[in-house]
């Protein structure tokens, strides 16, 4: 009412400024009432006010006014409408006729009771904009403010209802004793109004979605780790995910949507952040606090609009935008302690030496023992710290302990500010995280060699309403990573120190020597090493001492991506109601460089040792002055500009949308065009320097009737520069439909008591993939006209030409890899609070690019020829469940679970016609390994001799008793490649699941999440774990350490266990070559279940938080990867065969989250 008065006042002011006619003349047919009223305003100068809803959808009328007065005109015009009017001064006020009494008596709204309260959601966050309404009196009501508070005057005994979209409406009766309310609104699981984010950021009611889309509340992805991809496993039905390493900055999980659905080149999903294709790294660094929505699109209908790039599924993330209201500041700080989840158990040095001796004589009884009894006795003395013992002459080094700390600290800070008004909204966020590694540093050495990964992010999303129908969105983001870590031998950043430590003898040399008298003034660390007969002193000596490898330097990289995005949303209702247009331009620039600095360690060994005086002298081992191995005290920088990487990317998208409801019929349609380009700096030839481009036209049409029947058609029409003009564009249509049975009239109360909601849906269609191989262009050949096949002539070889190399042959027939996808789903709500979505699907992926294996080498081709030959079938089930229940206003409970099963098999595969059917790839699961079937160990040498021959290489050594006996599958009397077959489950799990429970009581909340995987195999790599032998990794020279499990249980003359954990020992790779073959002997069950996270939170009571001047403050303590149940015990099974890698981290974290 007050506003009306104010407007009236303004109107009067305005009217007094001009003189108008009091008569109206207007003649028009089929005109809207609104237009007539505007005309009246024009002619008379009277301001006309109307309740928009009342005249919005009125029918058209014919007007014929000839010098009529205002009153006459209004009477004529309004006579057919249930509208009335009053004239106050120079204003005409149109009202609904039903509101008989516009002047509500003052007495009736004078409150008896002032009700106050706060509304929160189940997480304890205050809710803004919640409707508080007196039941039966729609005039009395209010909404909660920014702090979730409301105040309302009502009559004693009135019933108020508290409602918000997506939440269960609650009602309360007000009386003198009950007028302060702390209300917790619970998510309405039955609510069909849940909004999903689908392709191109379209917000769609869950009810209307036909495709397969899983959306997760981003808060569920909040774990105490700085890598978002580590949180995906088990959270979203349809994602198969595993994490192969725990090293900060190098710990991205690998993830697949609905499993590995192709054996082609690219099997990873398309990642879209705010509509723009970005990398896994970009997703990994994204701050959960900045995410507004997180969806995965799983079937053809959902991904069709991405056509060419959607075949592997799509991950769709949008970032937050500001909301109208006062400025809100949200702050989060976390501090974590991180430690290895599981450390390797190694045998002690004495056992190591004894078994090394055993390993030597068991293969060659006459061989000289590597360790004398004297050495063993003295090492025992070292371990016992006996008087007269010397840990430098007779070392016993625990390398893992020497190199790695027990735990390390990690900090994360996140701050965001949002707010806005009708004109503009903003969301500005910044974050900082610092992850430290477990590597030790040395005080003698101020080179910072520990892993240290820092991430900074700045994000700003601003929405500006240029006009009532035009919105401009500006998104700016900067992501900056700085990594520092130990030198690695391969130039990648995944540390190999675990690997080096695991392949270094514990008793050969100490990590370093204290200075002897001769070296009293030496400035450098006197690192230990060795040389001698049978030793490996060579030019690679530098990597032999893991401690030196750790301390000698550091390598670092710096990476950043800066992006700017401009989006314009235009409502085109002036053309027709329901039409909107959006255009979006995104550009980003990525940059990366790396460098390293290291010194070259000085190595020493004990030259002479006087046992009586316990004095030793040192020999300097690397005095040479040339080669790789020259000792150097000072740091030298190593920087290779060819590792610099810059790329520039732009993306342009335009979209026309139409969405309108006609009675019971709702139709919508979209037409989208996109264009994107990436150019890279890291190029090696003309072809790789050319821009990578994509073009898309995509469209969507939907129809629904009465929220019961939904029909949807989508298509993507995509172009890529990689194929020949005939195949450049691919057309990928899909069709889908849904039926909400519970919205049918016949769905009576009896049924809805059981199933509150029941929906079935199905979709069928095609999606494509153009990223099918490493070749840049398939339709042109790639020839290196100056390199690769040189020849030199002349007396002194003075004339050389580099020759020509064919890298690829032209193949204009190569075309899109395509997936034909069928998806069936059932969604229902049962027991009021339990929501279930269950889906089954069958994908048929065809035209998978495959290298032709059937071309004999006699063709003499220089490069393989590929063709679109392969196909694969994926079948699977996704189930997502959630349950929410509030027992009363203080106590709520939530549970959720997801289950993903995906099995992909080769349907067709170009392969030779093997004589043995079991060698054929067809019908085998993708990722299933190939190897021998190990029966048991040979009983003795006689059995080994009399069994089918097992020699695996030129010059191979025949097996002995205690070596692995393989099955002669084809019965030809020899074990060779023809006896290998497919064994175990794939190395990517076929089942990933997770379930969690959270509960809140008053200010406390508690949640736990379990995650697991099943139907997965991995293979222990025998050439890397076998004790005493040399690892095949070129940078590792020492002899492999002895795992306790192998020390305890291996075949030996004394313990002829045919099923021992480890077969007969040996000291060279050649001796145990028989046992190093991939076989079922080394196959292990990779399944596990882990307590992934556990969290306890406490929200400060209002009294305290008000004192602290914060709106809300929550303290929480949580843990990550706390406990794992797995059949495999030697290391974390999620590492797979990669057991000597940086372990998966167990994290304990304390955090605070405050809203100001």
């Amino acid at each position: 009412m007050k506003i009306t008065t104010f407007i009236l006042f303004l109107a009067i002011m305005q009217a007094s400024a001009a003189v108008f006619s009091q008569k109206i003349t207007y003649k028009e047919n089929d005109v809207s009432l609104k237009k007539v009223l505007i005309e009246i305003n024009k002619q008379t100068g009277y301001n006309v006010f109307w309740p928009p809803k009342s005249i919005e959808n009125t029918h058209k009328l014919n007007v014929d006014l000839e010098n009529n007065s205002i009153e006459e005109a209004l009477n004529i015009c309004l006579k057919d409408f249930k509208l009335t009017y009053t004239i106050e001064g120079k204003s005409i006020i149109i009202k609904d006729a039903s509101t008989t009494n516009t002047n509500i008596p003052l007495a009736s709204i004078i409150a008896d009771i002032t009700v106050t309260g706060t509304v929160r959601d189940s997480k304890g966050a205050t809710m803004q904009g919640v409707n508080i309404q007196v039941v039966g009196n729609p005039k009395v009501g209010t909404v909660t403010n920014n702090n979730g508070k409301f105040i309302l005057d009502v009559k004693d005994g009135a019933v108020i209802s508290v409602s918000f979209v997506g939440f269960i409406t609650q009602t309360f009766t007000v009386n003198q004793d009950n007028k302060v309310f702390n209300i917790v609104l619970l998510d309405d699981v039955k609510q069909t109004q849940e909004v999903l984010i689908t392709a191109y950021g379209r917000k769609q009611l869950k009810e209307a979605v036909v495709g397969s889309v899983t959306t997760i509340n981003p808060a569920e992805l909040k774990i105490p780790a700085s890598n978002l991809t580590n949180a995906l496993a088990g959270q979203l039905a349809g994602i198969i995910s595993t994490q192969p390493s725990g090293q900060p900055g190098q710990d991205n999980a690998q993830f697949f949507i609905r499993g590995v659905t192709t054996f082609g080149y690219n099997n990873t999903p398309l990642i879209l952040i705010d509509n723009v294709e970005l990398s896994t790294d970009d997703l990994a660094r994204l701050q959960v606090d900045d995410i507004a929505s997180f969806s995965i699109l799983k079937d053809a209908s959902a991904t069709a609009l991405y056509g060419a790039r959607g075949a592997n599924g799509v991950i769709l993330v949008t970032t937050k935008e500001g909301k109208i209201g006062k400025t809100t500041v949200n702050f989060r700080y976390e501090n974590s302690i991180s430690q290895s989840g599981q450390t390797l158990q190694l045998a002690d040095p004495i056992t190591y030496m004894k078994l090394y001796n055993e390993a030597t004589t068991t293969r060659d009884p006459l061989a000289q023992l590597p360790f004398s009894q004297n050495k063993i006795d003295n090492t025992e003395a070292t371990l016992a710290n006996a008087p007269g013992s010397n840990p430098y002459v007779y070392p016993a080094v625990d390398w893992l302990n020497m190199l790695f700390k027990k735990s390390t600290l990690t900090q994360r800070v996140n701050l965001n500010v949002s707010g806005g008004n009708e004109l503009a909204k903003y969301y500005v966020a910044g974050s900082y995280s610092l992850d430290n590694g477990l590597l030790k540093e040395n005080i003698q050495n101020n080179v910072d060699n520990n892993v240290n990964f820092t991430n900074y992010q700045i994000r700003s999303n601003v929405n500006v309403n240029l006009t009532k129908t035009t919105e401009l969105v500006v998104r700016m983001e900067g992501m900056f990573n700085e990594y520092n870590g130990p030198i690695t031998s391969d130039g990648a950043f995944q540390t190999d120190l675990y690997n080096i430590a695991m392949h270094t003898s514990p008793v050969l040399f100490p990590a370093y020597f204290p200075a002897d008298s001769a070296n009293a003034h030496t400035q450098h660390i006197l690192f230990g090493n060795y040389s001698g007969p049978g030793g490996s002193a060579s030019n690679d000596i530098q990597d032999n001492n893991p401690y030196a490898a750790l301390l000698r330097g550091h390598e670092n990289y710096s990476e950043s991506r800066i992006s700017a995005q401009l989006e314009l949303n235009q409502n085109l209702k002036f053309i027709t109601e329901g039409l909107t247009f959006r255009t979006l331009f995104h550009i980003n620039r990525y940059s990366y460089w790396q460098s390293s600095a290291s010194y070259s360690p000085y190595y020493y060994s004990v030259g002479s040792y006087d046992k009586t005086s316990n004095q030793y002298t040192l020999d300097w081992l690397n005095p040479q002055t040339s080669g790789n191995n020259v000792a150097r005290e000072y740091l030298l920088l190593s920087r290779d500009p060819s590792t610099d990487n810059l790329s520039s990317f732009y993306f342009l998208q335009s979209m026309l949308n139409y969405d309108r409801k006609f009675g019971n019929h709702t139709v919508s349609a979209s037409l989208i065009s996109t264009e994107q380009q990436t150019v890279y700096s890291q190029v090696y030839d003309i072809e790789s320097s050319l821009p990578y481009r994509n073009l898309t036209v995509a469209g969507r049409a939907t129809y629904s009737y009465k929220s019961r029947y939904f029909l949807e058609f989508n298509f993507g029409y995509n172009g890529t520069e990689r194929f020949s003009p005939e195949h450049r564009f691919g057309f990928f249509p899909t069709i889908g439909g849904a039926w909400v049975l519970s919205n049918e009239k016949w769905w009576d109360n009896d049924l809805s008591n059981i199933f509150q909601r029941l929906k079935i849906r199905a979709s069928y269609g095609l999606v494509g993939n153009d990223n099918i191989g490493s070749q840049r262009f398939y339709y042109t050949s790639n020839v290196n006209l100056d390199g690769g096949n040189p020849a030199t002539f002349g007396t002194n070889n003075s004339y050389t030409r580099n020759g020509v190399t064919i890298n690829n042959y032209a193949n204009p027939n190569i075309t899109w890899e395509t997936s034909r996808q069928l998806n069936l789903a059932l969604e229902f709500s049962v027991l009021k609070d339990l929501n279930v979505t269950a889906e089954v699907y069958r994908f048929y992926r065809y035209n998978i690019l495959q290298t032709l294996n059937s071309i004999p080498v006699t063709m003499g081709l220089e490069a393989p020829i590929s063709t679109n030959y392969g196909s694969a079938i994926t079948k699977g089930i996704d189930i997502q469940m959630d349950y929410k229940h509030a027992f009363n206003k203080d106590f709520w409970l939530q549970a959720r679970g997801s289950f993903t099963y995906a099995e992909s098999v080769y349907a067709s595969f170009e392969e030779p016609q093997y004589n043995e059917a079991y060698r054929s790839e067809i019908g085998q699961p993708i990722g299933r390994q190939y190897g021998y079937i190990a029966e048991r160990l040979f009983v003795d040498d006689v059995e080994a001799r009399n069994s089918p021959s097992q020699i695996f290489s030129a010059g191979g050594i025949a097996p002995m008793g205690g070596d692995i006996k393989y099955r002669d599958l084809n019965g030809d009397g020899k074990i060779d490649g023809a006896d290998e077959t497919f064994i175990g489950y794939p190395t990517v799990p076929e089942i990933v699941y997770g379930y969690g429970v959270s509960a809140g009581y008053k200010n406390f909340d508690l949640s736990a999440f379990f995650q697991g995987q099943a139907m997965v195999s991995f293979f222990i790599d025998p050439s890397r774990v076998s004790p005493f032998i040399q690892s095949p990794d070129p940078y590792v020279i020492g002899n492999t350490q002895l795992l306790q499990a192998f020390a305890d249980n291996h075949w030996s003359e004394d313990n002829q266990n045919l099923y021992a954990e480890y077969p007969r020992l040996g000291v060279t790779g050649a001796q145990i070559e028989n046992n190093r073959q991939q076989s079922t002997w080394w196959m292990r069950d990779g399944s596990f279940l882990r307590l992934k996270s556990l969290e306890i939170g406490y929200t400060l009571p209002k009294l305290i938080s008000e004192k602290l001047a914060v709106k809300k403050c929550r303290l929480y303590f949580n843990g990550l990867n706390l406990y794992t149940w797995a059949p495999f015990k030697l290391w974390d099974p999620e590492l797979g065969g990669n057991g000597f890698n940086y372990p998966i981290q167990k994290v304990f974290n304390i955090g605070i989250n405050a809203t100001l």
Binding site: Q624, E721, F729, F731, A791, F793, S798, Y799, T858
Partner: protein, 635 residues
């Protein structure tokens, strides 16, 4: 559908993009194979591409002729693997069909990809008319070179695999499965194809290289004719000429792949070809090499000149070596493996040189006595007491260190023994010392000796080094400074012996045949065959029969071409490899210091060689991919 698509395209165009252009990112001028033949300059580059594989054959460690006969053996228990050991392992019986060693069919495990090389030659020949600025004369020469290479690559496969498919023209990459599944061709057809191609090549090629500074190493007609002689001799040799072992080997369609009967006319052709090659060599000015001491060295005793003549026939600079028919441009890469440690510094700095090529006693005993007959035939030599100790004296001071104790059989040997073999107590002229008053000798007994075993990776497991493979000017002291040389693929002495062999096989022991053997012997300081045998052999009439002379020629060839990557091929074609590898390969007790203990023959390697090993197995996988291919016999 088409309508919709055009509608969509129209929409795309409407959106302001010319989509066709947008996606057409490949600019004109992006290199394709056509550019390789646009002009002479580019085409020359492609010619060199054809040569590239040939030059990769320089590495003896992947040459079955070098590693396959146990002339040199290599330990297989080292912890470091600086060279490819696959070839050396083959004599241990490691060959297999699943993953063959020195697989030149697939280009793996030490082998080069010969089929790929043949395809390049065919591409060259198919496009040779494209370059606009190529003169007719040059075009003719390039055609000749390419045809030679194509023939040689076929020949290389033939020696290893016997009957092979002939790829005369390239199949298109879109060829059908049926077309690409080629079959093997009878071995005589392959020989004839190669010999015919070599004839064509020889006709197009120049006899000598005029611009040596820039072109030395390019193929000449002399090379083509010499290779043809070897090809035809191989065809006539027992392995391929009526070999009963291969009588039943046939293609899947029943076609026999080997001739079942011995054909003596093949030797006639071989002899004629060898004669033609010898004539061509003579016309080109080639002659047997003799050492002329450079001014810096001064006058040397005749005994040392003979040694250096023989050594340098291999290690002399190739433009100075009048005997050299053909060598490859990359230099001999493994001199350091053939050199014993002679100096204090070399023994300290064990990293710089592995010194691991070990010559077994069998090979060392192959060399004649100074009477020019085999050790066990020499009626002046106490064969039974050959391992008896003897101290070096003044008479043999240029061969054995004076006063140093060694054994009887290291004395009174032909100069080729001293040129080829370094042994405990043997004189090593060179290595930085080039005066006769101060010469190195080898000390190899026990690990305190300079050349003795110091550690696992730098030891010689027999006590003999292949001295011929080291230039006498190479210096191994504090580090290894080699004087490079090019290991001959063919030299005149070998061609002479090839002619003698073919002639003897074709016509029996004629004076003509023996005269060519005697030329080689004379250069080595030995008397003629007839007189040497008549005087000193306990089998004086041996040269008078075809079989006797054959044995003499075979041993002569093994001696003359020892360590030159020939015996592995010769012993195969003669079908003598199985005999040679039937006894253990022995060395001395290398860890012993006392000569009495040291000179005890001890097994260093037990070879394994079956009849199947005469030819290589085709990798199993190839037989699965191409069902028309049949495996070699016994694999």
């Amino acid at each position: 559908m088409k309508k919709y698509k055009s509608l969509l395209l129209a929409l795309l165009l409407f959106s302001g993009l010319s989509c066709k252009k947008y996606l057409d990112v490949v600019p004109d001028g992006t290199g394709t194979l056509d550019y390789a033949f646009r002009n002479r300059n580019e085409a020359e580059n492609y010619l060199f591409t054809c040569y590239a594989t040939l030059q990769q054959l320089y590495d003896p460690t992947t040459n079955a002729g070098f590693t396959g006969s146990a002339e040199i053996i290599y330990p297989n228990n080292l912890t470091q693997h600086p060279i490819s050991e696959i070839g050396f392992d083959l004599v241990r019986g490691s060959q297999n069909s699943a993953n063959p060693g020195l697989d030149y069919w697939d280009g793996i495990n030490g082998g080069e990809d010969m089929w790929r090389s043949i395809r390049r030659c065919n591409t060259m020949l198919a496009n040779i008319n494209e370059p606009v600025d190529l003169t007719a004369a040059e075009k003719q020469r390039w055609i000749g070179e390419t045809k030679f290479l194509k023939a040689y690559y076929h020949y290389y496969l033939l020696r290893l695999y016997g009957p092979i498919p002939i790829v005369d023209t390239n199949l298109d990459i879109t060829a059908s499965t049926a077309q690409v599944r080629v079959s093997r061709v009878p071995v005589d057809s392959v020989f004839n194809y190669i010999s015919n191609l070599l004839d064509q090549a020889a006709a197009d090629l120049p006899p000598t290289i005029t611009n040596q500074a820039q072109e030395l190493g390019r193929i000449t007609s002399v090379i083509a004719l010499s290779v043809k002689a070897e090809v035809l001799a191989t065809q006539a040799s027992p392995l391929f000429n009526g070999n009963p072992d291969y009588a039943g080997v046939k293609n899947k369609n029943g076609q026999l792949l080997f001739s079942s009967t011995y054909d003596p006319t093949k030797w006639q052709k071989a002899a004629a070809a060898a004669k033609a090659a010898i004539d061509a060599c003579a016309a080109a000015g080639l002659k047997l090499y003799t050492f002329n001491a450079p001014g810096t060295i001064g006058t040397l005793p005749d005994s040392l000149v003979k040694v250096l003549t023989i050594q340098n026939a291999v290690t002399e600079k190739w433009d100075q070596n009048a005997e050299l028919i053909w060598a490859l441009n990359p230099v001999f890469p493994v001199q350091g493996y053939a050199t014993p440690r002679l100096t204090q510094l070399s023994a300290v700095n064990i990293f710089s040189n592995p010194s691991t090529f070990a010559v077994p006693i069998n090979t060392a005993e192959l060399f004649y006595t100074d009477k020019g007959v085999p050790l066990n035939e020499d009626n002046t030599f106490d064969y039974a007491n050959r391992y008896g100790l003897r101290v070096g004296d003044a008479a043999s001071q240029f061969y054995v260190a004076k006063g140093y104790t060694t054994i009887n059989e290291h004395f009174n040997r032909e100069p080729r023994f001293y040129a080829n073999i370094a042994f405990d107590g043997g004189i090593w002229f060179g290595n930085g010392k080039t005066t006769i008053s101060d010469m190195y000798h080898v000390e190899a007994r026990g690990n305190s000796a300079l050349a003795g075993p110091h550690d696992l990776n730098t030891l010689n497991i027999t006590g003999y080094w292949p001295k011929k493979l080291v230039n006498y000017l190479s210096v191994y002291d504090d580090g290894f400074v080699p004087i490079d040389f090019h290991l001959p693929v063919m030299r005149l002495a070998g061609l002479y012996l090839l002619y003698a062999e073919a002639s003897n096989e074709a016509n029996g022991p004629t004076a003509d045949a023996i005269s060519y053997i005697d030329m080689v012997r004379a250069r080595a300081g030995l008397g003629g065959v007839i007189s040497s045998w008549a005087t000193y052999s306990n089998n004086p009439s041996k040269p008078s029969t075809k079989e006797g002379l054959r044995a003499i020629i075979h041993q002569e060839r093994r001696i003359e071409l020892c360590f030159e990557a020939q015996s592995g091929w010769d012993l195969r074609r003669w079908k003598e490899m199985q005999t040679v590898l039937s006894s253990p390969q022995q060395g001395w007790h290398i860890y012993e210091t006392d000569p009495g203990n040291y000179y005890q023959p001890t097994n260093a390697l037990i070879p394994v060689f079956g009849i199947k090993n005469y030819l290589w197995p085709i990798q199993d996988n190839n037989l699965i991919i191409d069902p028309n291919l049949v495996q070699n016999a016994y694999w």
